[in-house]
Symmetry: C2
Amino acid sequence: MTGPTSRGIPEATVARLPIYLRVLGALADAGTRTVSSDELAALAGVGSAKLRRDLSHLGSYGTRGVGYDVEHLAYQVSRELGLTQDWPVLIVGVGNLGSALAGYAGFASRGFRVCALVDADPDVIGTTVRGLRVQPAAELEDVVRHTGACIGVLATPAPVAQRMCDRLVSAGVRSILNFAPVVLTVPADVDVRKVDLSMELQILAFKEQRKTSKAIAASPVLGSAAGGVR
Amino acid sequence: MTGPTSRGIPEATVARLPIYLRVLGALADAGTRTVSSDELAALAGVGSAKLRRDLSHLGSYGTRGVGYDVEHLAYQVSRELGLTQDWPVLIVGVGNLGSALAGYAGFASRGFRVCALVDADPDVIGTTVRGLRVQPAAELEDVVRHTGACIGVLATPAPVAQRMCDRLVSAGVRSILNFAPVVLTVPADVDVRKVDLSMELQILAFKEQRKTSKAIAASPVLGSAAGGVR
DNA sequence: TTATGTGAATCCATTCACAGCT
DNA sequence: AGCTGTGAATGGATTCACATAA
């Protein structure tokens, strides 16, 4: 109804579009004009059937017998993700992580513009980080209005994250990227994505543990002692 | 066969265990002895049926009519994730992000011990970051052997990430957390998890875009101009 | 002939609803 | 009476396999 593909791209597909976009960018930089679903899938680390299904949700941008035009597909993916426009981003909390984020090159290259930094610490307020003056957290609402920030990044300590989140929401921010190790409560029309650095490590630890115990079970000597009771 | 629950916890469940663990920790700190699936689910931001299904994969640690013992459940989740042991972590690349990670409190509290930092930049080598001397990337293999590092964290620029990854793998590291914006190629027995900071923002942008266009379509004035062709 | 796009089958995850235990 | 743990139903995502188009 609303668009070319009767709007409704699966969540799982959206989560992979940024990967495809990155690979397409690398291909374009290398001067590649055309790419097949097999090649693109291999570079992105997914199966080719999955890739074709994903792209089919955007429309028919491939050519049978040939493949996809790299430039054109990259543009279509960009547009679908909303990256053809400029997104002003406000970072709340300018500690180690916050200042690393402020300087992260991957943001600027995708249309994300860090437009303001705020912090509550008097020692940090007023200092310049990556060319931006850190503003007082007390004036967060003014900063949002003044910069037109659309997306808020929370890089504060856990105890104040919910409070800062509430203030972002009441100032009109409806998309939040949360690095603080807490589960935020927000109204239904606000989207929160959480990046939890230690969570990722925990999942790795789980898998590493399984690999290690499998290796022990497979060991002729240790295996019988550990698993072979009976 | 191998354990209490015939090994095979769904991927999706494993990804949520760290959330439950965090909430359980907060409850324990607050002195709560017992928690029901409804309460725990609400705090974790999931449905209670999903939570009970998830926990059922670990075993029967609840008491009908009562709920779960906070301490005991936290221990069981910890154990399942492999957090009752110590995981030496090596960070490769000590730029802004790498040094932020080196000081991240969430690591230490979950059994992850940053055991070494390496970098290729002569200006950085030899400096002390978070109490650790930065060692030369040239000696990466020696550092892995000497520290017994199990998990490698890649926080290098994109162009060198694959090379550093290869060297980690050949030195025996089989679990890698990748912050560099590239898709790494590794042997089948190596696990890689990728944290892509701009990817998360891109997904938010996609949703924000949908919200905005929905708002325009719903607007009596702008709606007809934007969407209602024909 | 080659490689896309997609029905159809399959697999996995979520949700419902309630039997069973305390 | 209350809450867990789980069959059964549902819903999404992945994979297969091929009709279709260049």
